[in-house]
Amino acid sequence: MALLEVSALSVSYGRVAALTDVSLRVQEGEIVTVLGANGAGKSTLLKAILGAVPVKGGGIAFADTDLTRAAPHKRMGAGLVLVPEGRRILISLTVEENLLLGAHMRRDTAAIRREMDAIYGRFSNLAERRHMLASCLSGGEQQMLAIGRAMMAKPRLMMLDEPSLGLSPLFVEKLFDLICELNRDGLSVLLVEQNTGKALKVAHAATVLELGRVTMDGDPKALAADPRLQDAYLGGAGGH
């Protein structure tokens, strides 16, 4: 069975349907990307998988456990984590406290310390500012902190909501390298992106949402070549 199995999921905000009958699966070790225009329901999908918005119908199973009604902390305990849209760094906490917050449900202090040092080794900018308030970081550094914070939860599946938004090209490059590297080390990834071209390049599978429904899914290479997707998402960026 897949690591994450979303079946016929529906979510509404009041009377407004945000997701209708959305199905999607992530196999262990895969990067799956979810594409779609603004307002398509991508963030809602990730939040529903995390349990932060209530579902109206359908189901969510993770690691062979039905989590459809479980609270977010239960799902995170099972190995799900979200790097939220807009990063949501805690600006009243220091850089280090943000990282530790990611591990707030864990008790293995020694391992937490080791993993935090590994993150500092990877991101020297964070190491230098570890005792400063996180508000002093640049956008790119904040994104690294948000991902570091998610890594501190020791997830099996990391969901990222538009992580490249607002980053300089250099940081976007670094970000995608990082995602691929984490994936090679065994982390499964569910990636929501506006940067359609890059996302399709790194993904093993892709799903396109339009107005809360799945309109295309399958092999990312086939999707990248699909004229409908070309028109909708790739055209604007490339410029015909």
Partner: protein
Amino acid sequence: MVAQQIVNGLMLGAIYMLVAVAFTLAIGVLNFLNFSLPGLFMAGGMLAFGLMKAGWPFLLAAAGALAAAAFISLLVERFAYRPMQGGDPEVPLVSSLGFLVLLENLMLVQFGSDQQAFPALLPDLNLRLGGLVIGYAQLASLLLSLGLVAVLSFVLAKTAAGRRIRTVAESRETALLMGIDIARLVPQLFVASAALAALAGILFAVNYQQVSPFMGEGVGFKGVAAMIVGGMGSIWGAVLGGLLIGLAEVVSISFIGADVVNITVYGLLLLILIVRPQGLMGRAPSREKL
């Protein structure tokens, strides 16, 4: 003599400090001006008194009063705070005020409206230091209050629980996305702030040897004032504000007179707020939010 007044002022200030810290927890984390706290202060003192009258030893009576206050605070959370989430912030404020009135009237029915004498615990044990007379009960309550606040501040600053609380204080929505169990954390905070307020009530009863159903009102006002002067949401601000008000009160009673005490105390607070609107330890209002 001045030194004695300072000691007395610090003792009184320690009680205001506990109440101010209770208020600051509720405001800083839950964004809730919880007016049931003066009621819980009073319930702490009155219930300890009632249980001792029923023959319980002091420590057991104090524990019983604290447990009862914690339970009442859970009711406040359930019926005044939780149903009003997402609505006007004024509504839970008003319903918590309702709890204050309810508690006062329950105690009034049970014990009458008169002031009652709280038994002296360590009547003749005084520490004499030079010309100073310090009761052991007073000294113990001062140390207990300061110790408790220091522990609280350590927990907030250095532990995983503290980081969770500060995350909820900054953004509940982010806290939810970080997997913080808000539904469990909020009642825990209600219990913690109730315990602080009720403990202050018990210490007040022990030190001043009197209780009444209305003992929470004046102290509650001064607790709120201490919190504001210290800087809302700052624990050490609440400590400073509480001690300052206690000192100002005692010193002005003995040097200016009891009938003008509220004028001098609140006048001082007003002056501080004119000079430093964010309070003594509060951060200047940030412009980033706009």
